[in-house]
Symmetry: C2
Subunit: 516 residues, 2 copies
């Protein structure tokens, strides 16, 4: 929709003048726009059939991001107050027609939702999903692996053995903390990885690492509280912190992970309530924090009395020997909550993870978990116990390390052909992802739009940055693609890079500027 | 510990004078006590070896409940700042000794936890659990049933059939909303119960009704927001609302469920953001709301623009024909979020429930669920789909209705023998529980303490009341006890009632008052 539409032309141009945005308010801008437009519709100032300004136009006139207006229009649409029509734009329905016959006015839910609904990166994330789902597309965008080719993963057998328990054991209620024997099994496993003297009392079963992050954040953070994260960091953690209204402080990452000097400055500067860190095969950059830096981070936690949430999801997926001891293993003072789970080893579909928490925090986590979800499924706990106990998981992990390392090497070899184009690939010591920096002037999102029609997608790096501003990186998953997809996908990526660079040169020629 | 202890006697009597409580503050009293005592210990005013006043004594001196002081001491103990010693009381450890060798000072987690940790009813609930777990005790306290005797429940077969899917289907990630085919199956099922024209898009799979309540409450309630509930109501809902800091307004329940006149007064009076209601075989009272009252409640929701959370966990467990149409089925304006699940039919161990939400609320619930727990287990969804599809669940439900009705009748017959003692039992039309009013002067908690040594337990009714003040009721589960336990358990209950009444008479005689 543009200025060349006929109907309502005078009217829709006035809409921006009817809206007053308070940029100092804690109410998000999209919410302010939504509320004021809803009031105008319900009050009859914007009557049925009225055409709203296009998202782009309203954004320009209000001086806000287009995504802000998109979010506001989505809420109006969800409330049944407007309808989007291809070619006609966004049309007011009016409250009367929105109510169903005989039912009276419908409830306007969007106005009632108190939680932060729209994450700023939502539209781009959705775009990646849409593009990756197109037929024929090779997706490097995934965050998971395909473990089903493992000759050692005997999921069916584990489930059938779990079923040999009496049915009441699978159907009765069970402790919120998790099955005692499973907690003991995990404590033993972690003892083998350096957490000696770990009591099973401190191991709590959760539905996955996402729930672990949510529980800890919900317990420790109030709106406005600061949390330190690596910048870039895991998107699911950013989402939790954002929704809880936390102030997210991104600490730069170098080849050794979170830069502790920058962390120290942030800790000295303000009311930091939590440090979230992913020290092994960091998602997305693939870096691993050396022991010395882990100790310095712990020292900072002690000095500033701030707890650390250590996300060790990828710790067992190591390609070149075991990683350094976990921060939890180095911790003598109960500063660390440790997070692990089965998803990076088995795929995320089963849903089982664990939190290791200092004893003092156990009752709080259990109480919060009980409110959210009384306890974890007995069937899943029984299956996990079988997988952990009979050695098949360990055999699977050994296979997985070799299989994933081979895929990493294959992808790195293919990516090296793109070096002349200016693409630089990091070398992760484990995990699922390769982090690449793009040639100067090449933005992640533009590359995605160029690459998708050529049949390859990936995660734009900006999705992992706290402020979304760094656009010079992409994340490639080497563990999910099927056989033969890595060479072809990287070839397509190179094609997209070349096309994008040619366009840039073309644009500069058109602008009459000298060539690079 | 009392005034006759020797050491520190002068000191501990001064402790109450060192504490200043601000009863107008939003910081809970136990938290104020904890924080000030922690500061006194860390500051050295209360040195190592110092004996704190007994919980009872400090509560008396500060004019607070004993449970408040208990909670404060528990936090100090969790932080490693004090230690409880039988016979010696609560002794200060001091910060230095609390730190482990070489590790420096430990982190004081309790001071960092922002969420509401202690529910006021926690100690009594724990007491019920402890008493019910004693060997030889017949427990009527449970909130679940024992479905394993059903000839129709073929859980193992359903799981094995679920395993016939390719492993990747069970291990890959899946939509936060739930599997599409499962959502469609549940939509069809609910259509058969009056919710016609229900789109599968509005059905969201959750881990159970507890998670459903949490999601809705977390989306709609901010601290201080009011929520209307039946008084008494489901304890797990109270817990969620309490932890989120909501203002919980209890609406009295009569033989037809929530009294809508009282609900209307509350809605007219203030900023109510949610109505939580359990209209079928209400937990704990067993009452069912007639259609006419459901319609009036919907009318109130419309008038005051307040959403309804309809918890229909027990709706399928009906003994005398189907219940009235659900409020969701009567709703024309999208005012109702509807909650159902497998727990009341299969036991809570499997973990699978569903939310039916108005279309406008779908994105918000999905976003919140994604933050808490990316998606539900594929294995559990596959099992649920098998159970729902092959008719074995329906056969099981038909069996369950007969089995539970027979147990209800057995318990009612036994309870009728206690009528002469003044115990009145309600007759639930479905569900798992019988709600009994106690003879005058007989308090639920006293009866529990009398009954447990005689080998029977139950839920004291005060646990279900918003303010915990009504002590004249108990809730008995007839669906969980094993064969033969109902007559013996009720016999023991009668014995406890008689003993308690004899004590009351004895006390009155001792006090020189006339007998009743």
């Amino acid at each position: 929709m543009g200025a060349n539409n006929e109907a309502n032309q005078a009217n829709w141009m006035e809409v921006p003048l009817l809206l007053e945005l308070d940029r100092a308010s804690r109410v998000p801008l999209y919410r302010q726009i939504y509320r004021q437009l809803a009031a105008l519709i319900l009050g009859g100032q914007l009557p049925e059939g009225f055409r709203l300004p296009s998202e782009r136009e309203l954004a320009r006139r209000l001086g806000v991001n287009r995504t802000t207006v998109v979010a506001a229009y989505q809420e109006l649409s969800a409330d049944g107050l407007v309808e989007g029509h291809v070619g006609r734009g966004t049309i007011v329905i009016g409250r009367r027609r929105a109510g169903r016959a005989g039912g009276g006015p419908p409830l306007l839910w969007s106005g009632l939702v108190q939680a932060r609904l729209h994450v700023p990166w939502g539209p781009l994330l959705q775009r990646v999903g849409t593009l990756s789902a197109r037929p024929g597309v090779i997706s490097f965008a995934s965050g998971i692996l395909d473990p089903t080719q493992s000759p050692h993963l005997k999921l069916e057998q584990a489930v059938v053995r779990a079923l040999s328990r009496p049915a009441w054991q699978l159907l009765e209620d069970s402790p919120t903390e998790g099955w005692q024997e499973l907690r003991e099994e995990i404590a033993r496993r972690l003892a083998g990885r350096g957490c000696d003297k770990l009591s099973a009392r401190c191991v709590l079963i959760v539905s996955g690492s996402q729930q672990g992050i949510y529980l800890v954040a919900q317990l420790l953070l109030r709106p406005g509280d600061a949390v330190l994260v690596e910048n870039p960091t895991y998107l699911g953690a950013l989402e939790v912190f954002y929704r809880l209204g936390a102030r997210i402080i991104g600490i730069p990452v170098d080849a050794e992970g979170m830069q502790v000097e920058a962390a120290q400055r942030a800790l000295a500067g303000g009311q930091v309530r939590l440090i979230y860190v992913n020290p092994n095969y960091h998602n997305p950059t693939g870096t691993t924090m050396p022991t010395e830096r882990r100790l310095r981070l712990l020292e900072l936690a002690r000095r500033y009395q701030v707890p650390i949430l250590e996300d060790d999801l990828y710790g067992e997926l190591s390609f070149e020997g075991a990683p350094p001891p976990s921060i939890r293993a180095l911790d003598q003072g109960g500063y660390v909550v440790y997070l692990g789970g089965l998803s990076p080893l088995l795929g995320p579909g089963l849903r089982l993870g664990w939190l290791v928490v200092p004893r003092a925090l156990v009752p709080a986590v259990v109480a919060m978990r009980k409110s959210i979800d009384l306890h974890h499924s007995n069937l899943l706990q029984a299956v996990a116990l079988e997988l952990l106990r009979d050695g098949s998981l360990d055999a699977h992990i050994r296979w997985l390390r070799h299989a994933c390392a081979a895929r990493r090497d294959e992808m790195l070899a293919e990516l090296s052909r793109l070096q002349p184009l200016g693409l630089q690939a990091g070398v992760p010591g484990g995990g699922l992802h390769i982090w690449c920096s793009l040639p100067e002037g090449c933005a992640d999102q533009e590359l995605l739009e160029e690459a998708a029609p050529l049949g390859v997608t990936f995660m734009p790096g900006q999705l992992f940055f706290v402020d979304g501003s760094s656009q010079g990186f992409i994340r490639l998953n080497f563990a999910a693609p099927g056989p033969g997809q890595i060479p072809e996908g990287v070839r397509r990526l190179g094609e997209a890079l070349r096309a994008l660079q040619a366009k840039a040169v073309g644009a500069e020629e058109q602008a009459g500027r000298p060539l690079i």
